[in-house]
Symmetry: C2
Subunit: 408 residues, 2 copies
Amino acid sequence: MRKINTHDFKVATRTTSREINRRIALNLIREHQPISRADLARRMSVTRGVASMLVQELIAQGLIYEGATGEVARGRKPTFLHIRTRDRLAVAVDVRFSKTYLMLSDFSGRQLALEIYDTVFAIPQFVKDLARRVRRMLKTQGAEGNCEGIGVAVPGMVDHRTGRILNAPTLGWRDVDMRDQLAAATGLPVQVENSGRACSLAHLWLERDAAAATQSFVYISVSDGVGIGVVVGGELMRGHDHIAGEFGHMPLSLDGPRCMCGMTGCWEAYISNLATLSRYFGWNLSKLSPKALHEAGRGSFTMPDLVARARGGDVKANAAIQSTARFLGLGLATIINVINPDCIYLAGEITTAWDLIEGTTREALSERALTSSAARTPVRVAAAQEHTRLRGAAALIAAPTFAAPRVA
Amino acid sequence: MRKINTHDFKVATRTTSREINRRIALNLIREHQPISRADLARRMSVTRGVASMLVQELIAQGLIYEGATGEVARGRKPTFLHIRTRDRLAVAVDVRFSKTYLMLSDFSGRQLALEIYDTVFAIPQFVKDLARRVRRMLKTQGAEGNCEGIGVAVPGMVDHRTGRILNAPTLGWRDVDMRDQLAAATGLPVQVENSGRACSLAHLWLERDAAAATQSFVYISVSDGVGIGVVVGGELMRGHDHIAGEFGHMPLSLDGPRCMCGMTGCWEAYISNLATLSRYFGWNLSKLSPKALHEAGRGSFTMPDLVARARGGDVKANAAIQSTARFLGLGLATIINVINPDCIYLAGEITTAWDLIEGTTREALSERALTSSAARTPVRVAAAQEHTRLRGAAALIAAPTFAAPRVA
DNA sequence: CTATATTGTTCCAACTCCGAACAAATACCG
DNA sequence: CGGTATTTGTTCGGAGTTGGAACAATATAG
């Protein structure tokens, strides 16, 4: 039961019903392709006449196409309908501290080309260089006419509406108008989003697996930091100041270990890869400056190494991981009590040890979950897709085609 | 950008546009009454012809009525339209440990009758007794035909869809089918909701003050426990297991004081009235059993007494309150980082000392807020309306009349 | 070849917004 | 006092939409 916003509403016109139904049809075709007009009509509970009209328009718009005819026991054979994704393309960009990832993707998230290069930190140069690489990639792939935009995922705070990067401490970027600069340099529409959120968008819009068909979940990626996207009712929570979902910096204990953000006791300071490694090596992070913390995380010994040692029988390594698992579960419990999603998806290096830690995590989670049903909230390791962030960046461009029309 | 739920969608029919626009018109009339048809048409950006038709239907449905004619400089005088709320009634029930509150209210939340009596804990008797009182109240108020339902606010977990009370520890109620029992006994539609959420609904649907016109806020009521309602995009977050928004039991420090819920370090254990009082009296709550904790909160010395002492110059009283203020701010910071609402509304006895604690609270909040704009999130003391919970219970019945139609 | 079944199209009725014309009501002005 | 201008509210035809039914197209079974 939603209250209508009397300061920002949308009146229905005589074409609104069509727009709504066309969009529903498009989504049903996307989910059940290949599907016939008659099947579509049944699923929508409309007459075949209406479904035919909707299909005709979707074909005219180039959103779907007719494929082969199907086989049925009796009667006229149906013509199957398919979503047109193969030749609708987006450029996805994932900017990280060490490398920048550049992918050409179709609207289903399939990778067509990939380029990885050292990140350029000076903004004008970054934009100029990126624009050049995008042009070249589109040209060599023969995709110049089909690319509908550029999606950019950035590790930091982003105002998605304006496309401004407010603060990306890892990259040293503050208040950068990425969208307009990149759009001007390439002539393509640009969307910018935080990388944790981008991952959740990849899951929401591009995950094919039927088990992923939930409209309400929290996507948590644990690595150097903790990236989170909260999806409620099929919509990503963004918040008034674009920081909604920042569970990484909720306290587990106010006087806990120092966090890279400058505060103490943040969840991130308990479960990040650096936190786990420092438990193993006995580092005292609280005595380090925020800057020194950044450096400490860039050593040569990584989480996969630690997991390998734990599997190899290293008791101390296992203890460090189990400790992280416990704090992970305690934090998850709060997320469950507060957002109460259908499901939680977990990503990051720690998930390679999921078989080792699931029990500990679930036990800690159950300790602080408010009800037994909440304690049973599924925690799934996110499908081991490659380049989730890049897929999320692509989703920024692809999603508007399929999203529900704004109404009332 | 919302993803369409392909398993639960609503196709647009040929009457959908009208339904949408009728509902928009109704809300605009509600907000700007008295208002003419011509004015309504301008606000909606439709022709006067359309607005006239919408108004005609709303009048036929008995949702609005024509009032006096207005004055204009030139031309034909407009006929003003008004929302019909005076003779549309709801019964609101607020069940607390000591007393049960019963109110007859109109659809604007105005109180027409109030009855307070000792809470009956045996369910069948509670229902029978309540039904009798409701019948009597409707009869003595001459409102038998106009009452459109009963809204019930309960301190505990409620499945709003089925109207089941899952667990109300204060009352000792578990898995009670309140809705169907009460509906059977009274013949009226019944809606049940958690009392913290009910307060947020009162604010969302019945608050007249224009300053309250935000679609995204968190309502926090601090008393024996911490009741919270999270409203995002004009919609109350309920969650998969009906516990969304339970910030009261997020940890500030895992090894903090014992909470009534059985866990330790919950925010509630730092800021509830009992927590504040126990700081003043030097009680050690951690050594008490959950049951003993319940008892401790029912003493004769209350928060208003403590606030009075603080104002009178009692240094220890002030210290106890300031300590609570600090923990309040630290918890608010996490809520802001996680939900990032437009605004936070605060209610409960502690707000009588708001002038004493605002500075401390804001300071603590700023310490842990992730951005400077987040740190500036307005924290307002909820309008000192009487019986907010009862108004919320009434809103459960009144709101569906004004809510946005479900589409796509 | 006929009966049956299914798909997809076409047509009209009912309902909607949209634009314009029209009637009603009022103030202003000569 | 009457005409003009202005605003409100209604009415009517046009175009876009769903809903229902008839129809054409296509295939199988016997």
